[in-house]
């Protein structure tokens, strides 16, 4: 078996039109689901009446069903739903809007859980310390708890984003013309599916790699107050499964001045 490299080059060129579509889906879903997921997490943590159980139900529905089922449900329910509401023909709606809806709803559930657990990892002593220097609970939340929670949320937000990037390839089911869809259509003419899919694979690899790099910089910037952290240096090797777990001293520490003590929580 030999690969048709000319065909691959051709797919590579045409599929690039799908890159902005993929990125758009990812960005829209992230931009909407980050704040909403955060607010949902607060509702859950403060056990807001009525809303909290609803959100819990929502999260468990989304997390307990396959994404493909969610896509099929939204894709078949929404057009007729929209048609009755705005009286517009469902066919005149760009299918990318359905992708926005599905992937946003999906990552809201993920990020709600991400923010919820991140906020819970911040020791309650931090709040009490704020109260005891006279700050209001809200001030302490914004200035002390939130920044720490966001740092511990970042690795999971990175993961959620990577999943989003990869899952967005399922948008072709809703006839969205993303990378996967374009490559698939091209392959269908000549039955060079393997070549087409290899190209798709490379595109996702590049996008995911770029996203990982971006988040790595964010993590490093926001966690500068932690002395040791895993994955301080970015793993440039594409094909390794694990990030290196080297621990790095962020600041040169003079052991002569004081014995290092690790009784911190």
């Amino acid at each position: 078996m030999s690969l048709d490299t000319n065909f691959m080059a051709q797919v590579f060129k045409t599929a690039i039109a799908g890159v902005p579509v993929t990125l758009q889906i990812v960005l829209v879903a992230l931009i909407l689901s980050l704040p909403i997921g955060f607010i949902f997490a607060l509702v859950r943590i403060y056990r807001v009446k009525i809303l909290s159980p609803i959100i819990r139900l929502y999260v468990s529905f989304v997390r307990g069903t396959p994404l493909i089922a969610q896509i099929l449900i939204i894709y078949s329910a929404f057009p007729s739903f929209l048609a009755t509401i705005i009286g517009k023909s469902a066919f005149s709606i760009d299918p990318i809007n359905y992708a926005y809806i599905v992937f946003t709803l999906n990552s809201i559930a993920t990020l709600t859980e991400v923010f919820r657990s991140a906020l819970q990892t911040v020791d309650k002593g931090q709040l009490e310390a704020g109260l005891m220097v006279g700050m209001a609970p809200r001030q302490t939340f914004v200035r002390v708890i939130l920044p720490q929670a966001l740092v511990s949320a970042l690795p999971n937000i990175t993961n959620a984003t990577l999943y989003l990037i990869k899952n967005s390839s399922l948008a072709f089911i809703m006839s969205v013309k993303d990378i996967t869809a374009i490559a698939k259509t091209q392959a269908a003419f000549s039955y060079n599916f393997l070549e087409a899919y290899l190209v798709v694979w490379v595109y996702y690899l590049i996008i995911a790699y770029a996203a990982e790099l971006l988040f790595w910089f964010l993590e490093r910037y926001f966690s500068r107050f932690q002395r040791t952290t895993t994955a301080k240096s970015f793993n440039w090797h594409l094909f390794s499964f694990k990030q290196p777990t080297t621990t790095v001293q962020a600041v040169q520490y003079d052991p002569k001045k004081e014995l290092v003590n690790h009784a911190h929580n």
Binding site: E128, V133, Q226
Partner: protein
């Protein structure tokens, strides 16, 4: 200066504080001793409004009222007039040493930044941490972190500073540096209430020792009264136990 009367507090069905009277006068250094689980921490946390009391009254900083029914304003007044030093420091992990001290000054007490910095530096100097202003808590030893915790409390010039076992999370070789700072504060006339198992501190620095057991104040008096002439068998028993363990 601070008067607590008949304080009661339960967690669920279990009554932890069973009617405590507690008085702090200006310049007092009071040590609170007693077996683990006797309610010492709960007492401090209830006085400082970190926990809500079930019954009893407080008279402090112009606030006079039932601990169970303090208004938001009362709570804020109390909080702005006490300092608290925690067993595990509770420094703001995302703030530098300097910011840990200026935070309350600027945000809660509305002191201009430049002035807050001056106050903070003076407080840090007093505890011997002026060389570490840009360090984050994760870069400090336990003893250093606790001294920053003390600087954070004294910078606000509270009427009373409460210490909840300030040295018990420390490695033994770091205890001394923290006790030294506390002793110095006491000598300068700070009003302090200290839960501690450091009997030397209780005997030599405090002017008053309060022995608590089982949610009640069993015996209170001068260090000589308590350590040399304890009247109540429960006190004698506790002291015998703790002093034989040294």
């Amino acid at each position: 200066m601070l008067t607590i009367k008949n304080l009661t507090k339960s967690y669920g069905p279990q009554q932890i504080l069973k009617g405590i009277d507690f008085q702090v006068n200006q310049g007092d250094v009071i040590t609170l001793i007693g077996p683990s689980g006797s309610g010492k921490t709960t007492l401090l946390r209830t006085i400082t409004t970190l926990e809500k009391g079930d019954g009893g009254t407080i008279d402090f900083a112009g606030v006079q009222g039932e601990l169970a029914h303090l208004s938001k304003n009362d709570i804020r007044t109390i909080r702005q007039n006490v300092g608290f030093v925690f067993q595990n420091y509770n420094l703001f992990n995302n703030k530098t040493t300097l910011q840990n001290v200026t935070e309350g000054l600027v945000v809660a007490h509305k002191i201009p930044k430049a002035q807050a910095k001056t106050i903070a530096l003076a407080a840090l100097k007093k505890v011997g941490m002026a060389d570490y202003v840009d360090h984050y808590p994760s870069q400090l030893s336990g003893g250093q972190a606790q001294r920053v915790g003390i600087a954070r409390a004294i910078a606000l010039k509270p009427q009373v500073i409460f210490f909840d076992e300030p040295t018990s999370a420390l490695d033994p070789e770091l205890v001394g540096e923290v006790l030294k700072v506390m002793r110095q504060l006491a000598e300068e006339g700070a009003t302090m209430v200290v839960i501690t198992h450091q009997m030397n501190f209780a005997r030599n620095v405090a002017n008053k020792v309060v022995f608590m057991a089982d949610g009640q104040v069993v015996e209170a008096g001068s260090p000589t009264d308590i350590f040399d002439h304890p009247q109540v068998p429960r006190t004698q028993q506790f002291l015998a136990e703790i002093l034989s363990n040294v």
